[in-house]
């Protein structure tokens, strides 16, 4: 099943690097691609999503703009620390519409997912939605 709004299931963004207060990280989990979180310069950029409880995740879908390389890490602890790498992906550049990438996580169980954007196609990147397939 696709959970269109992560926040309605109790998940939230607990850490995010620099951002514009008009485009807060909560916009990543609100299920709406019209709202977004935007970086304000430099790489890497990262955000961490915390789930209300340990969650089995088969895949995540990331709707974004100008992201070039993304790494995903996870943990199963209560704290947002000590992450282990899960996967990484090179996104294709899109013009005029959002990038939408499904990334398989092979049913790993996690309480936190950490998204690290290591490079972009522009100085600035935005993330509009992260949704999780259980």
């Amino acid at each position: 099943m696709i959970d269109s709004s992560l926040s309605s299931s109790g998940a939230k963004v607990v850490v995010a690097t620099c951002g514009d207060e008009n485009h807060p990280p909560e916009n990543i989990t609100d299920g709406n691609t019209k709202t977004f979180w935007m970086s304000t310069g430099m790489f890497p950029q990262e955000f961490i999503i915390r789930f209300a409880e340990p969650t089995k995740i088969s895949a995540v879908t990331v709707d974004s703009c100008n992201v070039k390389h993304l790494k995903i890490e996870k943990n199963t602890s209560q704290n947002a620390s000590q992450f282990e790498p899960v996967t990484e992906k090179e996104f294709e550049h899109t013009e005029g519409h959002l990038q939408s990438n499904a990334i398989s996580l092979n049913g790993s169980s996690a309480t936190h997912l950490r998204f690290i954007i290591t490079s972009g196609y522009d100085h600035f990147v935005s993330v509009h939605r992260v949704s999780v397939q259980n």
Binding site: T17, G41, T94, G96, H97, L98, S119, D122, H123, F124
Partner: protein, 204 residues
């Protein structure tokens, strides 16, 4: 690098460089004043180093610039890069994802100006098509009797390269803020422009 989050702060890497391949061994002549300028900007004008000390790697300086008529600021991470040819290659690795360019030459050295085009090529190759706004700075304007580069010529070349031209004197602290303020403004404008573009995107 992850920097501490200040609200509405736009962050950029600004590269400060120039070219000094000289056959002469005198390093004094090779020095166009990049470090002097960076330090003055960084310290709001209280620091001018009279004695030349060659930059052998890259030096990182941070400066927060408030953008007039907004609540926004731009954090400039100024990478002061070595100008000496033999050191440049090592430094280039540390340029990273640079966002802004501050290209400095010495107004009393025709050669340092001529070499600016090599620097531009180098930066372009490094940035692989990413648009990097920049300024060209003619430094040491206080030494007017020894001037070798006319403002109009530098201005024309800057324009042809899409750079904004400024003249400064790090020694007299004249106009030193202008180039980096211009860069901060440009980067802020670029951010706003991109934000608008993203706002109008349709879902993928």
């Amino acid at each position: 690098m992850i920097s501490p989050c200040t609200q509405n702060s736009i962050i950029s890497f600004c590269l400060c460089l120039s070219f000094c391949v000289y056959v002469r061994v005198s390093v004094g002549d090779a020095a166009v004043g990049k470090s002097a300028l960076s330090h003055i900007f960084h310290s709001d004008g209280s620091l001018f180093q009279k004695n030349y000390s060659m930059t052998s790697g890259v030096e990182l300086l941070m400066k927060c610039v408030n953008i007039p008529e907004t609540n926004d600021s731009v954090e400039l991470y100024i990478i002061d890069s070595a100008g000496k040819q033999t050191l440049v290659e090592a430094c280039e690795k540390m340029w990273g994802d640079l966002s802004l360019l501050c290209l400095v030459f010495d107004l009393t050295s025709e050669q340092s100006f001529a070499n600016c085009s090599h620097w531009m090529e180098r930066v372009r190759a490094h940035c692989q098509g990413r648009h990097v706004p920049g300024v060209l700075v003619g430094n040491k304007s206080d030494l007017s009797a020894r001037r070798e580069v006319q403002a109009s010529i530098a201005q024309d070349w800057a324009q042809s390269q899409g750079l904004e031209y400024h003249e400064t004197s790090a020694k007299e602290m004249e106009n030193c803020d202008a180039p980096l303020l211009a860069l901060a403004r440009t980067f802020h404008a670029l951010y706003q422009e991109r934000r608008e573009t993203i706002q109008n995107l349709s879902p993928g």
